[in-house]
């Protein structure tokens, strides 16, 4: 098998040039989806017959929570590439994903609390496996960030964070299935299909899907912007970066 395409993928210059072309489109799509999602959610989602307008909280909560589960798998794939192939770009992506993932986990917990405090009657339950495993993900991601800054040697830090990211994937599985494996207060996820027995009407799930796409786009844009900064810093001695800076 010919692996040159794979090594080309790992070139920071190639990534930088490719994202320069993609970014305007990604940012445009993100702005449109975010605007449509938020306006739809705040103005048009009908009240639930029991929860009133608090379903609007869940649109944000579900989108951010779902996206937050993508961080450990992404960092684990990047980490495996770092460990096996020693590709610089993979580690740059992983490094910048960790703090963003911590943000996502925190917003998931905060928005969930703001819903739970009025609907469940509690803003936090230590006995709920879903809540605690999500808090654990937040701590793990903060731990990855802390580990990175604690280890001075770049290569050692990259390898240590890669291993922690691979291990952290186990927790993602626990978060996902916690609502099915154990008795918890948290509701299970709603199927998005119309055929399912407990399918919700399009007035709830369509804006939710719009918001999920919006949040994924935001995740991509923010991570790409941060990774490009990392490339400029780490490759500052490369001729193409110096040329790029002189034109900027």
């Amino acid at each position: 098998m010919n692996w040159t395409w794979f090594h080309k993928l790992g070139s920071p210059k190639w990534f930088y040039e490719l994202t320069s072309k993609w970014l305007p489109w990604l940012i445009g799509a993100m702005v449109i989806f975010l605007a449509v999602g938020v306006v739809w959610a705040l103005l048009y989602i009908p009240p639930d017959y029991q929860q009133s307008y608090t379903t609007r909280i869940l649109v944000i909560h579900v989108a951010v929570a779902g996206t937050s589960l993508a961080f450990f798998p992404l960092m684990a794939v990047a980490g495996t590439i770092t460990l096996v192939w020693r590709m610089k770009l993979a580690d740059m992506v992983a490094k910048n994903a960790a703090p963003l993932g911590a943000w996502f986990s925190f917003i998931t917990l905060a928005t969930g609390s703001l819903w739970g405090s009025v609907m469940w009657g509690t803003w936090w339950e230590w006995s709920d496996a879903r809540l605690v495993s999500m808090l654990f993900q937040f701590f793990l991601l903060v731990g990855v960030v802390a580990l990175r800054s604690a280890l001075e040697d770049n290569d050692t830090a990259a390898r240590a964070c890669a291993l922690l990211s691979i291990v952290g994937c186990i927790n993602v599985v626990i978060i996902k299935y916690s609502v099915e494996w154990w008795n918890v207060l948290h509701q299970p996820s709603s199927p998005l299909s119309m055929s399912g027995e407990s399918a919700n009407g399009p007035e709830f799930w369509v804006p939710t899907v719009v918001m999920i796409v919006a949040v994924y786009l935001f995740f991509a844009v923010s991570l790409i912007l941060a990774t490009r900064n990392e490339i400029l810093q780490r490759e500052r001695k490369a001729a193409w970066v110096q040329e790029l800076v002189s034109k900027a």
């Binding site: 048009y44 009133s52 307008y53 608090t54 703001l114 935001f218 844009v221 490009r228 400029l232």
Partner: protein, 64 residues
């Protein structure tokens, strides 16, 4: 479009069926979250470019 809006008045819109504090807190938090994670990498990029430009000038002076 207008008929489908769930509210008759602006105060009703703010009230969110009595859950105004919670709903608006969530949307406020979300706005801060999105804005912070877009603005901070853009600001950082400006800093990096400025810094690299200065270095390039210093290097040029040294080589002359």
């Amino acid at each position: 479009m207008i008929e489908a809006i769930q509210f008759a008045s602006f105060s009703e819109f703010l009230d969110m069926g009595g859950y105004g504090f919670n709903v608006w807190s969530v949307y406020g938090l979300f706005t801060v979250f999105v804005a912070a994670n877009l603005i901070s990498p853009v600001m950082k990029r400006k800093r990096i470019v400025r810094d690299l430009k200065r270095r390039a000038v210093v290097n040029e002076q040294q080589s002359n």
